[in-house]
Structures are given as C-alpha cells and as structure tokens.
C-alpha cells in the first residue's frame, strides 16, 4: 500500500497522531480477538515497555531464585534428593534463559537486562530475599513458592505476546515437578520424627506469608493491573489469584497435618472461599525496596558470579575467533 506510505510522509503531526491512534485501535482489536502479537508486529510503546519490564523481572526472579535452593545442593539428605534438587535448580536457570530470550525479542539486549539486575535497578520477586535455614525450607519453597508461581504463570501461557506465551508454556510444563517434589519433601518430614515434623511446620511458618505476597499488592493498590488486563498480558487480578492459591493450599496443609500460621483463616460457606488474615504490606515494601533479610547477599552472589565468569565468556569468544580464522585460512589455502 505505497499510497498510504506517501500520505504519512507529508502528514502533519496531528494526522500522524491520528494514524498512531488508528494503529492502536487495530492493535487492540487484534488483542480482543485473541490473536497473538509477534515480535515484529506493530505494538504501542507502552505495551512493549510493560512487557520488557514484566518479562525481565520474571527472568531475574528465576535466576536469583536458584540461590536459596542452591544453598542446599551440597547438603541434601540423600543422593536422590541431591539429584532432584540439581535438576530443579537447573530448570530455574533454563526458565531464566527462556524468559531473557523472550524479552530480547522486544529489542532489549541480554547485557542491558543483566546490567539492570546487577546494578540493582531491576526488581525481582520479593520471595527470594528470604533465607533457607533448614532442609524443610527447600520443601516449603517447592510446595508454596513454586505453587504460587504456577498459579501466576498458567494464565500467562495465554498472554497476548506470542514469545512470552510460548516461553510460559515450556516453564509451566516443568514447574509441576518442582511443586510436587517440594510437597513430597514436606510429606516425608511431616510423617517423620516429631523433630522432623516440627522442622516442616517451622518452614511453613516462614514461607506462608511471603508466598501470599508473591501475587503482588492488593488490587486496589496495583498500578499495572487494568492496562495489563486490557492488553491481555494479565488475565486475572492479584487478589483473584491469591484467593485461588489459598483455597488450593489449605487442604494440602491439612493433609500434611500442619497448621497454616494464620489465626484468622476460616472457610466462608456462603462465599465458598477461605477468609484469611491481613498481609503485612509494609514488610513487602521493605523487601522490595532492598531491605529484606537476604537482598544484599543475593545481589552480591549474582555480581560475584558475573565477575568471576567474565574470563570464561572472553575465552570462549577468543576460541571461537581462532577456530574461525583457522577455518577461513584452510578454505583459502587448503
């Protein structure tokens, strides 16, 4: 349609704005029709920046999320538990890589994203700033943290942005193993000695409230909610997903014979849902702003890993250069 192209060239600012508006309407119509938006398609600048922010935060969370559990790889109680934990932590690295790739399709580079994480500019999930003092914490993380992640992530498989949705399908397929292995640890501990059961209960007490915070601020205070829902990046509100998580988890805790650390928790027969106590949003804000128990430790570990790995990245490039030069000279003279 070259005639349209000619029109745009000579158009006034107002006419161009009108053009952008029409493009945005077309975009919204595609989203409303459940069409997937792909990397090279036209999209509003805010859609792009919202996705870059969300996908990269998600990727950073997967990468930082390796640290609390990685802490227990050398101390897992059996060889099988060690193998399982290594596989799980490797999956988290993989999830981070899928998601960084998805973010890169939007025109941001891997190095920019990593810089944002290491400089402390980018956020990641508040949950990974809590410590894992016992083996039971590994169980509680799998059961609750990965459980909450699944609740958040399943709707993202239908996100309007194709590359993100496809990455999430792969992530979700692998995440179920994480949750089940965590519950399996909790099950074994809660059927064990009184000391082991106490260990499981204490881990549950530590992780329950931070897990509920993973769904983000309450709907009334959420700044990104409505726009993301209109663009079908987000399908359900924070509070809806949090409620669903509580309703799913309460019977699982009962089966373990453990008590959720919330005296206000009760079944509401009329509404067919669990009521639960107030979440400490001040704590959430503190952790998000960098003042949680492990924020400094986590960032220091990532910075250290990046700095210590620099020579490997450089050596691999030098080797690739040398191989290429050798191949080229063989082609030329050989």
């Amino acid at each position: 349609m070259y005639t349209q192209g000619l029109d745009v060239q000579g158009a006034s600012a107002a006419e161009r704005a009108e053009g952008a508006c029409a493009a945005e309407e077309r975009f919204q119509a595609r989203v409303d029709a459940e069409e997937k938006i792909e990397a090279k398609d036209w999209m509003p600048a805010r859609y792009r920046s919202t996705l870059i922010r969300q996908i990269s935060q998600h990727a950073h969370s997967e990468i930082v999320g390796m640290l609390p559990e990685g802490n227990w790889i050398t101390r897992a109680p059996t060889l099988l538990r060690k193998s399982i934990l290594i596989a799980k932590v490797q999956d988290e690295a993989g999830h981070g890589a899928y998601l960084y790739s998805a973010a890169e399709t939007l025109g941001v580079s891997r190095d920019q994203l990593i810089d944002q994480l290491l400089s402390g500019k980018a956020k990641y999930s508040s949950i990974f700033n809590y410590p894992t003092p016992t083996w039971a914490d590994v169980g509680a993380i799998g059961w609750l943290v990965d459980g909450a992640a699944i609740m958040n992530q399943i709707p993202l498989c239908r996100c309007s942005y194709g590359p993100y949705a496809r990455a999430m399908v792969r992530v979700c397929r692998e995440e179920s193993f994480h949750q089940r292995q965590g519950y399996d640890i909790m099950l074994q501990l809660s059927r064990g000695t009184p000391e082991q059961k106490r260990m499981a209960q204490e881990a549950l007490n530590r992780w329950w409230w931070p897990a509920l915070m993973m769904f983000g601020p309450p709907d009334a205070a959420s700044t990104h909610g409505t726009e993301s829902q209109r663009w079908k990046i987000k399908r359900f509100s924070n509070d809806e997903l949090r409620q669903k998580f509580v309703d799913f988890t309460v019977p699982q805790a009962q089966f373990l014979g453990l008590t959720l650390p919330d005296p206000a928790l009760r079944w509401n027969e009329a509404q067919q849902r669990h009521e639960f106590g107030a979440i400490d949003w001040d704590e959430f804000d503190r952790v998000l702003k960098g003042h949680g128990p492990c924020n400094a430790e986590r960032l220091a570990a990532r910075r250290n890993a990046h700095a210590e790995g620099a020579w490997v990245r450089e050596a691999a490039l030098a080797y690739a250069d040398k191989q290429r030069t050798r191949r080229e000279s063989e082609q030329r003279y050989g």
Binding site: A167, R170, R313, A316, Y319, A320
Partner: protein, 96 residues
Amino acid sequence: MDDKRHWPLYEVFVRARGGLDHKHVGSLHAADARMAIDHARDLYTRREEGVSLWVVRSTDITASDPAEADSLFEPARDKIYRHPTFYDIPDEVKTL
C-alpha cells in the same frame, strides 16, 4: 554500554522424533555454533524433547515483513479452486 563483544544470538530448532520436521523452539547466546548446540541440548532437551538439533545465527534469518503480510498472502485467498473441496463430484463417482 561498552565496547566489549558479546556472544551472538542463535535460533534453535529441535526434531522431536525421527520422521518429524525440525521445529523452532527459541533462542540462546553462545560463542560459536558448536557451543550453541551444547547449550541447546541443556536448555531445550532436558526431558527427551528431541533427537536432533539445528542452530542458526539469528542475524542470518531473513523474515517477511508483518506489515506486508496482507499483500504477500492475500493473492492466495481467492484461489479456492486450489482446494479439493471446491469441486462438486457426484456421489456415484468413487475413489476420487
């Protein structure tokens, strides 16, 4: 940011089973193609998802322009006679 060089981006294609096509699954960074294959193994086939891998430098792919999709694909739209169901064959005629 700086002038240091970075590992380039590769697109990864996996053949799930013998007899199927290689299918695009995602991308990754690697210093060279050999390393891209190794990374692709670790990243995309941890659960027996494939029996063969292809990697291609992302910059070597030429793609059609989504903005031109209409003019590119529209000419096929009114050629319904390319489809077998276009032809009305009497029921008496078998094996056609």
